[in-house]
């Protein structure tokens, strides 16, 4: 590289600054385009076909969506998705509570914080196994607690009315840890002078939390809520491990039902599967929209 590149030098030297960003971006864009962006549109297109994964896809228009409308399993899955969303939202206040509890400076607190965060680092497969043992009606810890209280043990995972709630509780475990860490980070940024001023004004306890601390934690709350909703809509691992959607499909959610329809012994209905995936995608798009708008605004401000 010469230090005195005259402006009339090579074409490359003149255009380097405009072409360079695209060269740097190319590998990532190609990979992301091929594996993430293009498949979204391919799936949407495929949802208009009837296809078993082997033969020639047959165009059926919106038939898959009409079939979904008449499919009780679809509505059951959608209902369970709602239970997941509302149940999962408990992770936000629970995470806040834990964060407030741990937001102190006593000896060893850092270790406590990381141990509380621990469940998030562990695979959902492992946690799913642990919770299915926990719920085991003959030897599970829950059954032991019930029998010691003189109650009939609850077969959580084989009871179609409570099974989804049981799995949601398992899913909450790592999610609470995640929200806790978001709030702990947020609490680092809370201004002590404002707290002190509010205290002089006589604010304590609940008022202090609601009026002074929470408003300052808004960024953390926003992320916790969005991440929790998206996480609830993505729930798959624990359902697959703990019940495989059962009993009788009563613990399916859209993400699991889609997988079952498209890739399991129930048949390879690729078109129908992508129709379910498309519905899930559009639900998710609402929350993705929130995230992108927020990021876009931040960028405009800075």
């Amino acid at each position: 590289m010469s230090h005195t590149a005259p402006p009339s030098s090579s074409w490359w030297a003149r255009h380097q600054k405009t072409i360079a960003p695209w060269l740097f971006l190319a590998p990532a864009l190609v990979m992301f385009g091929v594996y993430v962006i293009a498949p979204i549109f391919e799936s949407m297109a495929l949802s208009l076909y009837d296809w078993d994964g082997l033969g020639t896809p047959k165009f059926v228009g919106l038939q898959n969506y009409f079939d979904l409308w008449d499919d009780p399993d679809f509505w059951m899955s959608l209902k369970n998705n709602l239970i997941w969303i509302f149940g999962f939202m408990l992770a936000v206040p629970a995470g806040l509570f834990l964060a407030l509890f741990l937001n102190q400076t006593v000896f060893g607190i850092r270790l406590f914080k990381s141990l509380f965060f621990f469940p998030f680092v562990i695979s959902q497969v492992v946690l799913g196994l642990v919770f299915s043992w926990f719920y085991d009606p003959s030897n599970g810890l829950l059954a032991l607690v019930f029998t010691s209280l003189g109650l009939e043990p609850l077969a959580v995972l084989s009871d179609d009315t409570i099974v989804t709630y049981g799995i949601v509780v398992a899913g909450l475990y790592p999610q609470i840890a995640y929200c806790m860490i978001l709030y702990l980070t947020g609490l680092n940024g809370v201004r002590p002078d404002l707290i002190e001023a509010a205290r002089l004004e006589g604010a304590r306890g609940w008022t202090m939390l609601w009026r002074v601390v929470l408003p300052q934690l808004r960024p953390a709350t926003f992320i916790a809520v969005v991440v929790t909703i998206i996480g609830s809509l993505r729930s798959f691992d624990m359902i697959s491990i703990m019940t495989q959607g059962g009993p009788y499909g009563s613990s399916r959610v859209l993400a699991y039902y889609m997988y079952e329809v498209a890739l399991s012994e129930y048949g390879y209905r690729m078109g129908y599967g992508t129709a379910i995936a498309t519905v899930l995608f559009f639900i998710m798009l609402v929350y993705i929209g929130f995230v992108l708008r927020r990021i876009y605004r931040q960028e405009q401000e800075s």
Binding site: F24, P27, S123, V125, Y259
Partner: protein
Amino acid sequence: MFPTPIEKASGTTRWLYKVALPISMVLWLLPIIAVMLTSIRGQADLTNGNYWGMPSEWMLIENYSAVFQNTPMVQYVLNSFYVTIPTVIGTVVLSTLAGFALGTYRFKLNMVVFLLFVGGNFVPFQILMIPVRELTLKMGMYDSTMGLVMFHIAFQTGFATFFLRNFIRDLPYELIEAARIEGASEWQIFHRVVLPLVRPAVAAVAVLIFTFIWNDYFWATVLIQGDHAMPVTGGLKSLNGQWVAQWQLVSAGSILAAMPPVIIFFLLQKQFIAGLTVGATKG
């Protein structure tokens, strides 16, 4: 108690707090402690119904060596490394380049590309599932660790680019300007000026991606069939199916499967949390 610093509280409260901490922690970690205890339990305990009490005999070495000798667990763990390590490297390379482009150049589509990476990162896996599976089949990578690696690199690049781009944008721009005036080429600016500064962010991204990929279960079930390429998450699930009554062995397998991300987390906690909480304090 909150947000009053505990030092200002009365002696009794302080004492109560210090007692409450370890108790609540044990309660919180009870599920995990239970698996740890079960993984060193003997079969006799389980036959006698002692699933949750203290183990009556300590079978640490017996159980763990049984897992290694009687199951493909070694293969599963190795497979997870074959998937995770190339993914981390590939993602870091791609997203550092892309993050540099988005963080330092002003061009028309900058924001569009940036939001594309961020948005794609939140997409449900199911909408990608069938096309990605078809693509992997067509490229002859189905049922191989390479097929998983290719997809994981592509998908993780979304998040990693978002993180690295924000980090690079916060670097002092004067450094880059100065290098340009000195006559450095764009590649030299990337290589000599930005790359050395970006290391802490790369560490954060690498730790997070390692954990995400190690714990991935969905794509392992979609793109892998046989034990020869199955990562530890999928392997554990089939172990559980085969050994329904041998909780102690499945527990030992679970602990092994959980180990690598846990170790990495404790070694690089600060980076891990920095990556996970981007945006939790400003905005």
